[in-house]
């Protein structure tokens, strides 16, 4: 048998899946760091520890370099998803008149494109709210420790009810996107085992719920005045 017909790995269907899975897991690892750092606001010290953390993230050269990798990973994940979706649509030119998808799969497993698009829209708003300010347009003054006051930006943003609602709703998209994505990434990596897969699925489920709740708690707590 000749292997001449085999395409380049990254152009193959399985290669593309691997890119989706690996970038997805990488983005999940970012979520953990992001949620942990931001949870510093719950120290309820007027954002002193939080601003200290923000300073570390802003000045650490490894973190700075990772920011580029993060954007690269995000863009790859989105573009690959777009290409795969277009290709998948082409694979079924005539749709079914009746298709009972709920009989065999979860709605969120079948709606990763929609959930991902909602997350991307949220992300653009989110970056405009915080990242653009902290990186480019500058932050409003310093806190008692002399650190740049990102905490104040957060407080201002989350005094706006609509923004709080948007942030909370986006976490629902995130929860469902992760509920499929987390365990799906391991399947794509080839990690399916009768002993470990139920554990991975369970971790994925609870991770999706917890991380989304942690993220949603921040704007809600600030708006409600629970964090000052």
């Amino acid at each position: 048998m000749s292997t001449a017909t085999s395409p380049k790995f990254l152009q193959s269907s399985l290669g593309k899946k691997l890119v989706m899975g690996l970038t997805g897991l990488f983005l999940i690892s970012f979520l953990v760091v992001h949620a942990t750092l931001n949870s510093f606001i719950f120290f309820n010290d007027g954002g002193l520890i939080f601003n200290e953390g923000a300073k570390f993230m802003a000045e650490n050269p490894i973190i700075r370099a990772m920011e580029y990798v993060l954007f690269l990973g995000l863009i790859l994940h989105c573009l690959q998803a777009l290409f795969l979706t277009l290709q998948n649509n082409k694979a079924r030119p005539v749709k079914y008149a009746v298709n009972n998808g709920n009989a065999n799969s979860k709605w969120y497993s079948r709606s990763m494109g929609l959930l991902g698009t909602l997350l991307l829209i949220f992300l653009i708003v989110h970056l405009a709210n915080f990242w653009v300010k902290s990186r480019f347009t500058g932050l409003p003054g310093h806190d008692a420790n002399g650190n740049e006051n990102l905490y104040l930006v957060m407080q201002e943003a989350f005094s706006n009810l609509w923004l709080v609602v948007l942030y909370a709703l986006a976490q629902i998209s995130l929860a469902y996107h992760l509920m499929h994505g987390f365990q799906s990434a391991f399947q794509t990596l080839g990690w399916n085992h009768p002993k470990y897969t139920p554990v991975i699925k369970s971790i994925g489920f609870w991770f999706s719920i917890v991380i989304s709740l942690v993220f949603a708690a921040m704007p809600i707590a600030m708006y409600a005045g629970l964090v000052k």
């Binding site: 795969l84 694979a91 079914y96 008149a97 065999n104 079948r110 799906s184 399947q187 990596l189």
Partner: protein
Amino acid sequence: MSHGNMNLTLKVWRQKDAKAKGQLVTYPLTDISPDMSFLEMFDVLNEQLINKGEEPIAFDHDCREGICGMCSMFINGQPHGPKRGVTTCQLHMRSFKNGDTIVVEPWRAAAFPVIKDLTVDRTAFDRIIAKGGFISVNTGNAQDANNIPIPKPDADAAFNAAACIGCGACVATCKNSSAMLFVSAKISQLALLPQGQVERVARAKNMVAQMDAEGFGNCSNTGACEIECPKGISLENIARMNREYYMANIKE
């Protein structure tokens, strides 16, 4: 109408040939026995159509005992209908209720073009098999079976993968029209056995390449295929195919 028999409304996809534009046509059916198989119900309908001088509905079938993989039919939004672990020929009318409307469509995939009515061209699967779904051995006297010891779990897993009858329900139900459950079963049944090792690397690469070339979609791990598969082929096979393909690309 004898006791327990049903009146049904069928909506069946009728399409003259591959190029014609098809449509759902409604057929009322009376006095259908709950003990009939779904295909026997179609036989009754076709008899009636023939008697009326109409063109009977073309549908694939052969063994009618669930092992040949010929019958297809997307019934009320599910391949092989609402029951689990059965093909359309093993689906009985007792799975439906008197007065039900049943929508029957062909498998829908670019790689499975409609030939006529409910029959689709599944030779894409044959071309994938031709790319490596076999072992190359000299025929002759079979050696003693105990010459090659095979661990029981491996033999069982290979057998479970080999249960795939190639009906294409996985492709039909997949939101992406992906053929990965089928291809992974065919790769797995050989990758798990000593006889399959010689061509292992080339098999993974070539069968996946052919699958892509046929225009099947990409797997997004919804798991619908595993649920709808009449032979219970597991998603573990897709994970194994992923491993086989990654390793094959690392080696060559």
